[in-house]
């Protein structure tokens, strides 16, 4: 954590740089989605747009967390709390995915096979 006035002032440039990166990242995401000549993959929205859009968004989120939320120089306890919750959220989504893919649930909706 920057605490002395000199340390705090030395970060000003970084804050502006990150703001610039966020603006550029946002514009890039919109251009890829709205300008056909920049559209990668097939015509319209597809998996490539999805991956690119989410990749840029994730990068932007990392910038905000790393610099603006000071995760670049935090104490261990904060990392455990925040990244622990992220991991739990990922597990939650994974469990949902697992449950949706569970063949027992969906096979049960199919007609019974002859002889059963």
């Amino acid at each position: 954590m920057a605490d002395t006035p000199e340390e705090i002032k030395s970060h000003f440039k970084l804050y502006f740089t990150i703001a610039g990166v966020l603006f550029v990242g946002t514009v890039l995401t919109v251009l890829v989605a709205t300008v056909e000549s920049l559209d990668i993959g097939g015509h319209g929205f597809d998996t490539y747009d999805l991956v690119l859009g989410l990749a840029i968004a994730t990068f932007k989120m990392c910038c905000v967390g790393y610099v603006f939320m000071h995760l670049n120089h935090e104490k261990k306890a904060i990392y455990w709390i925040f990244f622990g919750s992220l991991a739990f959220a990922a597990i939650l989504i994974g469990l949902f995915g697992w449950a949706f893919g569970d063949p027992i649930i969906f096979d049960g909706m199919l007609p019974a096979k002859p002889g059963q």
């Binding site: 919109v30 968004a57 989120m61 306890a77």
Partner: protein, 553 residues
């Protein structure tokens, strides 16, 4: 009482308690939004209807993203101002942050308002018409009404609501008269007298219903109390060994007694009925309506049959039932601004049917009047346009697969208002030379986000379109009722909006009431602003994900 470790760090964690607390809170927020985004993912993957991708106006979303990024920067500088003991720097940056929050919410409110005023109707074949319903001044039904030539109206006196009753009286109060005498029974000492409270032919007024309600509730209460008393009497009689000695000493005493009590109670009730001890609890008042035309907002109830000329029962939500003949209950669109056959195509393909043939038979392309003619003309033009688009895309290879590109379902089966306008500009004549002047609507619109619909645009839309209600499968404004997409959209963006408001209130408190604390303990205020700022950054973080997911995908 002094709260420990709000400025100085604890030795064990190296952090002050406020910071630990906000990060624990943010961890719970991660789980909350993680859960909501996982809902979004699975709703989208398993949607059994065409997902409305790239349907939100991009420019307001983009501006809101810029606003939140800017506010994230200013909130950091507000904190830095306090650390540098520069009050003016704090005030200026925090004020900008609050203004950003306000502007963000204005854009959001405008976006929501647009959704709640835009209507869509799904026909029985899963085709969609979108637009704005007719609005006659003073007509609250907005072109979406149940109309009944009423024979009679049956009120449930205890649940009739004032606004429904007022509407019926305003529309046909002079024609409504009580069908038969409304009789009550009164208690006078130990005698019960019947009398006619309202004679047949009495005109409908709120007072009539109110007085009948009063008597009905009184009678119902009396009857319930009498039944309870008779039940108590039945228990006393049933337990009397002199009268029911067969029950004494039995192992299954309870069940035997219950049966006996029920029999005794029935006998006592019958006796009380014969003695006219029960009051008349008539909860319904039926009024002759003499064919009066009654019109109701369709949200007020449900009708058994809305086809014009058919007999129908219209049940209002307060229990009032209007019986009669269905009138013109069609959906009256002031103008139609989009056609969408994607859901129809999805259903047709699932059954192995030829989608284009089914579209040609759709009730949407068989609508009557000038509006219907224009819809057919637009669809015909659109089919011509999409041929050119397909040919054009075939020549544009996909850089990753090397194959020719193909039109999307949106290109093929959805006609937007941008296209309707463009088709009109080309006089519904699409050629090899001019087809590219029509906006390819697979991409989100940017220009029209600024200009919006103008009178010039609206002049080209199909107007006064009437969709027969019997052909309608579903209709709604673009609210959470519409489908899961709008449900999750309003949930996530609404919750995010509440976070913006909450964060702005907290940061505003520091701005307007922080001076005293700054004078006494500036480091404490700096810690508070840092904690509030962390929350604000999290709000920005969520929006960074919301924007591409909802506006661009």
């Amino acid at each position: 009482m002094e709260i420990p470790y709000i400025v100085n760090a604890r030795k064990d964690t190296g952090l002050n308690n406020s910071k630990i607390a906000i990060w624990l809170f943010l961890a719970s927020e991660v789980m909350l939004f993680g859960g909501l985004f996982s809902s979004y993912i699975f709703l989208r993957i398993y949607a059994d209807y065409p997902w409305p991708e790239r349907t939100l106006p991009v420019l307001p979303g983009l501006i809101n993203t810029f606003i939140l990024i800017l506010s994230s920067v200013t909130v950091v500088f507000a904190w830095a101002g306090l650390k540098l003991r520069n009050w003016n720097m704090f005030v200026a940056n925090m004020a900008i942050t609050i203004i950003c929050a306000a502007v963000f919410m204005v854009f959001k409110a405008k976006e929501y308002a647009g959704k709640f005023h835009h209507h869509a109707t799904q026909t029985e074949d899963y085709g969609w018409v979108e637009g704005h319903l007719h609005y006659d001044e003073g007509d609250s039904t907005h072109g979406n009404a149940y109309v009944v030539a009423a024979k009679e109206v049956n009120f449930s006196v205890d649940s009739t609501t004032a606004n429904y009753l007022a509407s019926i009286i305003a529309q046909a109060g002079d024609k409504l008269s009580l069908k038969r005498d409304y009789v009550i029974r009164e208690i006078s000492g130990n005698t019960f007298n019947e009398k006619v409270l309202f004679e047949a032919g009495t005109a409908l007024t709120p007072e009539v219903i109110a007085e009948a309600k009063q008597h009905f509730i009184k009678a119902r209460t009396h009857n319930q109390e009498l039944r309870t008393q008779l039940l108590k009497d039945a228990w006393v009689i049933a337990r009397d060994p002199n009268k029911h000695n067969e029950l004494v000493g039995l192992k299954d005493f309870d069940s035997k007694v219950k049966n006996t009590v029920a029999e005794v109670h029935t006998a006592l009730v019958k006796k009380a009925e014969n003695n006219n001890e029960f009051l008349l609890a008539n909860g319904n008042m039926v009024f002759d309506a003499d064919g009066a035309e009654l019109k109701f907002n369709s949200g007020w109830g449900r009708t058994s049959d809305a086809k014009e000329g058919d007999s129908t029962n219209l049940s209002l939500l307060d229990g009032t039932v209007v019986t009669g003949t269905a009138g013109d209950s069609n959906f009256h669109y002031r103008y139609v601004d989009a056609l969408d056959f994607r859901h129809l195509v999805m259903k047709a393909e699932a059954k192995g049917l030829h989608a284009d043939d089914l579209i040609e038979q759709s009730p949407i392309l068989a609508l009557e009047g000038e509006g219907g003619d224009k819809i057919r003309k637009i669809w015909k033009t659109h089919k011509e346009w999409r041929k050119h688009l397909a040919k054009h895309l075939e020549g544009r290879k996909d850089a990753l697969t090397g194959e020719g590109r193909k039109p999307t379902e949106i290109d093929l089966y959805r006609v937007t208002w941008h296209q309707m306008y463009a088709y009109a500009q080309l006089d519904y004549n699409i050629t090899e030379e001019n087809w590219m002047q029509v906006k390819d609507d697979h991409q989100p619109s940017m220009i029209y986000d600024i200009t919006g619909m103008t009178k010039e645009h609206k002049a080209t839309f199909p107007k006064e379109v009437e969709v027969p209600r019997e052909k309608v499968r579903f209709d709604s404004v673009f609210s959470p009722k519409m489908n899961n997409y709008y449900a999750i959209y309003f949930t996530i963006t609404g919750l995010h909006g509440l976070h913006v408001i909450g964060g702005a209130i907290v940061l505003g408190y520091y701005l307007f009431f922080g001076r005293k604390m700054y004078n006494s303990n500036p480091e404490w205020l700096a810690n508070r602003v840092e904690v509030g700022g962390l929350f604000w950054h999290f709000v920005d973080l969520v929006w960074i994900l919301v924007f591409p997911v909802f506006y661009l995908m």
